[in-house]
Structure formats: C-alpha cells, structure tokens
Amino acid sequence: MSAVITVRNLGKQYRYAKSGRRLRDLLTPQHATIDALSGVSFDIAGGERVALIGPNGAGKSTALKILTGILQPSGGDARVLGLVPWRDRMQLTRRIGVVFGQRSQLWTELPVRESFALLRRIYDQDAAVFAARLDRLIGRFDLAPLLAQPVNRLSLGQRMRCEIVASLLHGPAVLFLDEPTIGLDITAKAAIRELINAQAQSEGLTVVLTSHDTRDIELVCERVIVVNAGRIVVDQPTDELRRRFLSRKLITIRSAAPAIVLDLPGVTRRPGEPHLSLLDVDTRIARVAQVVAAALAQGGIEDITIEDPPMEEVIHEIYAA
C-alpha cells in the first residue's frame, strides 16, 4: 500500500534564552538551541497503525505536532496525504482527525450532541452523510446515553469516547492520537483500545499513536517507532521488536508443590505467590523446551504458560540500550 505519511530528514530545533542574574543578561540574553528532532525519516502506509514512542522529551510530541501542521520543522520534509502539514494546515484538517488525551476539542459547557452538531458546521459536512456517520459511531462507541449530557459532566473515559468520535465525524483518512488513554482506568483503557482497533480495521484508517502505556502499543499498533533524543532508534513491527530485543521468555508454572526447584543456567526466578513460579529464561543460555522438561520431571505440574516478557520491559531495554 502506498505511503500516506512520508517524513524525510525531519529536524526541529528550539531556541531559548539562557537566564542570567546580571542586568546585561536581561537586556541582551544569550540564546541556546536544543535539537528536539534530528534526521528523522519514515514512511507510513495507508491503513497502518503505528506507535510513536519514547521517553519524555524524546521528540515524539514534536513529531506529532509537525505532522498535524501546528509546528514548523527547522529542516527536512514531511507530507501527510500529499500535503505539507504546516503549509497546508487548513486543507489537512479536513482529512485528518486528532485526539489529545490531555486536551478537549469539545465545548465543555455544551451537551455532547451540540458539540457534534457544531463540528458538522465547522467541517461543512453534508447533513445526510454526517447523520449516517454519526449514527454508526454512536452505535460503535455506545454514546447514545451520553448525547444529552454536557461534556463537563462526563467521566474521563466517557469524554475520551466522545473525543474520538468527534475526531472521526468528518471521515478522516488518518487519525493521530496523543496519549488517548492517559488517566483512564483499566476498563476504560481496554474499551478505548478495542474501539480504536475496530474503527481502524473497518474503515481502513491509518493510526499514529503516542503513548507511555505499552498496552496501547501492543494492542493497537502493528509497528513501533522508538524516538530517543530526537532520533529514531528503532522502527520495527511490534512482534519483531519484541523478538529482536528480547532473548528472554517468561514461563509461569502452577504446581501442586509450593515451589518447583530448578537449578539451570540462564534461568532466574522472579518473586511470586506460593504454587506459582515465575521463571525468566535467557534463551541464549537455556532452551525453553529444556526448562519445561526439567519442570515436568519434578511432577505435580498443573499448568504452564510461556510468554514474551511484557512490552514495558522491551521498551525499557531499548531505552537502556
């Protein structure tokens, strides 16, 4: 599939005045620059769901702002749906949807329904097309009970469902999500992820997501771009990333005995409950089959689960590297 987002050698420098205590510093301040992004290049194909992640200050929000047209890069080039975002922002707004987890795009005093109606007018949408799309989204996101409520009376999870629907009402081809699950409880997070997935798959939507929650990345995105200190350090499919960075498996064994005793090189035990052994296996030293066989040989094994370590650990290892 052809690329809907192309980024070439993108760079962004911020300039700031260094504070000083002398009067001269106040009158003629010295300036310093920091590289928020440097030489960043990637393509995103239509329908892809990509996570843009990194530690705080890594440059992911800067990249997202540039791609949505609200920040101009210092160098390089970027196209979203063939448009230069910072130059063609008004045109681009009609073709992308953006959700900021920490900022509302709705009118907080208005009932949800009126916010949606206002967005129809702002986006100059045909009434029939809009009504059909809204109906579909209300059904999918289960918003019917919320429509008459003012936005400022909604819970965070309810508001986020409304925010996502608001960003989809004009039928965008690309959806940018900046920390869409921040502050939500586990149930609301799961619901939001599921809804984003369902919407993206049914509409062929391209999704670019930033998040600190690794479950968002695992459950929504098929590709991860890791940014650190303004540069791309990893750009890989989510599964490959896990395999590449982890030469470890996590084996959970439920046993009749309070604990199983395994003294194999490359196997370390994590703290766990009685009858539940959590084993970290370095697959460069010990094979998984060998560990399982040794456990079974002890008898009384009720259940064995073999997993990749959580994504959080993958990310931690990448940052550490």
Binding site: I70, F100, R103, S104, R121, I122, Y123
Partner: protein, 267 residues
C-alpha cells in the same frame, strides 16, 4: 448552486456566534447579576450627574442635556463585551489553542464570532433592562435616535471586542494579557468617553479622542442619543466602520505574527 470558499466559513462563523449566544444565555444567574449591576451603576451615575447639575457646576463645565442617557449607552456597551482577552490568554498559555488549530475554521475568527454571539445576548438583556429603567424615569427618550444608537452600539461593541482581542493576543509574546488589557481598558474609558462625552475634554484632547478607535467603541454610539442629526449620525457610522475595518486588519496582522511565533517555537 456551487458554494464559494467563503460560504462554509460564514456557516461556521454563524454556528460559533450561536454557540457564544447559547453559552451566555445558559448562564442565567451571571446574566441577571450583570443586568442588576448595570442598573445599579446607572442609578449611581444618574444621581451623580444630577447632583453636578444641581450644584450649578454646569456654569464651569458645559454639560449636555441628557448626559445620563449618554453614560447609560456607554456603560451598556462596556458591560456587554465578554472578556475575550482571557479566553485567548487561556488557550494560548495552556496550549489548548493547538486543538482549535486542527479545525478548518480560523481560530481567531471563531473566537471573535463566539464572543460577538455572547455580546449580542448581553446587549439584548442589558438593553431591555436599560429601556425599562428609562421608561420609568423622567429622562428624555428621543425615538428617532434609537435605531442608529442600537446599530452603532452593535458596531461599537465589535470595535470594543477587537480592541480587547488585541490585548489578548499579546499573550503570544508576554504570556499574560493583563498589562495590555489594563492599558487598553483605561484608554477605552478615558479616550472612549465612558463617563462623559469626550467633547468635555480640552479641545486638543477632544479632537484626538473623538477620532481614536476608543471613541469608535463608546463615544460615537452614545453621542447619537444626544445629537442625532444626519451629519452626526453619518460621521458616527463612518468613524465606527472605519475603525472596525482597521482594527480587524490589525488583529489579523497580530494574529499572523503570533502564529508565526507559535509555529516556529511551539507553545
């Protein structure tokens, strides 16, 4: 018929104005409080100017008859203008402006239209209160003056909104609009003739004030209640419309400069 590029913008702007009006109407307690405050201010100022007249101060200061009516109209406009500078400041400082920039509606146009919608509601409610008080008083109420006064009050309110918006846009550079707003407010009060017609000032100051943007906001709409001959009405419309156009251009220029800063430096 094929729609032009301006039609969607006009529809969006109208929708924003309706939102502003609905928001102001929904805050009924605030609206009622403002109307009561208006009547209280007018009662106080009315008594003040009556006392001045009774003390024969008019010998030293040639007070126009119906000055209370003038002040009433100037206060009516002043109290009807929403604090757009605070909304701009909030959005710019908090970064909330970024979400607004991602819509196909120019942010400043939307914000001004929303403010004008709120202002129209306030003008209506305070105007009804003022008209009721006027009917109960023994003040002269020249019927011929009211249509141009109402039209000029709406336009003068728009000028006022532009002036306050300019103060709000200073947030792009100074992060707080209070200083710019206070300067603008004092200029509107003094050179705009909030408490008395600018013609009472020394001649040189009166000339400067009368053709300043501040007078276009208050003095020209209000003075029509005192002098509503065709020449004065035409001069008032010319002054208000000219300043409205110039301030709209100035607002646009400041906005573009602010946006250049925001796009290159971020929030």
């Amino acid at each position: 018929m094929k729609s032009t590029r301006l039609e969607p913008l006009a529809r969006g702007a109208w929708a924003m104005a309706r939102i502003g009006a609905a928001g102001t109407l929904s805050a009924r307690a605030v609206l009622l409080g403002r109307a009561l405050y208006y009547l209280l201010v007018m009662t106080t100022l009315g008594k003040f100017w009556n006392a001045v007249a009774a003390e024969h101060a008019a010998d030293a200061l040639p007070l126009p008859s119906g000055i209370v009516l003038y002040v009433g109209i100037a206060e009516w406009i002043t109290l009807s203008v929403p604090a757009i500078h605070l909304r701009l400041e909030d959005d710019i400082r908090s970064g909330a402006i970024e979400a607004h920039l991602l819509r196909p509606m120019p942010y400043l146009v939307g914000k001004i239209c929303e403010t004008l919608g709120g202002m129209a509601v306030r003008l209506g409610v305070l105007g009804l209160g003022g008209a009721g008080a006027l009917l109960l008083s023994d003040l002269p109420a020249p019927a011929a003056a009211w249509p141009p006064v109402v039209a000029l009050a709406l336009l003068g309110g728009c000028v006022h909104v532009m002036l306050v918006a300019i103060a709000g846009l200073s947030t792009f550079w100074v992060r707080r609009s209070l200083a710019a707003y206070l300067i603008m407010q004092k200029l509107i009060f003094l050179l705009g003739g909030l408490f008395a017609p600018v013609t009472l000032y020394p001649a040189w100051l009166a000339r400067i004030a009368a053709f300043s943007p501040f007078a276009a906001s208050l003095y020209w709409p209000a003075v029509i209640a005192l002098e509503h001959d065709a020449a004065t009405v035409l001069t008032a419309f010319a002054a208000v419309l000219t300043w409205l156009a110039l301030l709209a251009l100035l607002c646009g220029a400041i906005w573009r400069a602010g946006m250049r800063r925001l796009l290159t430096q971020g929030i």
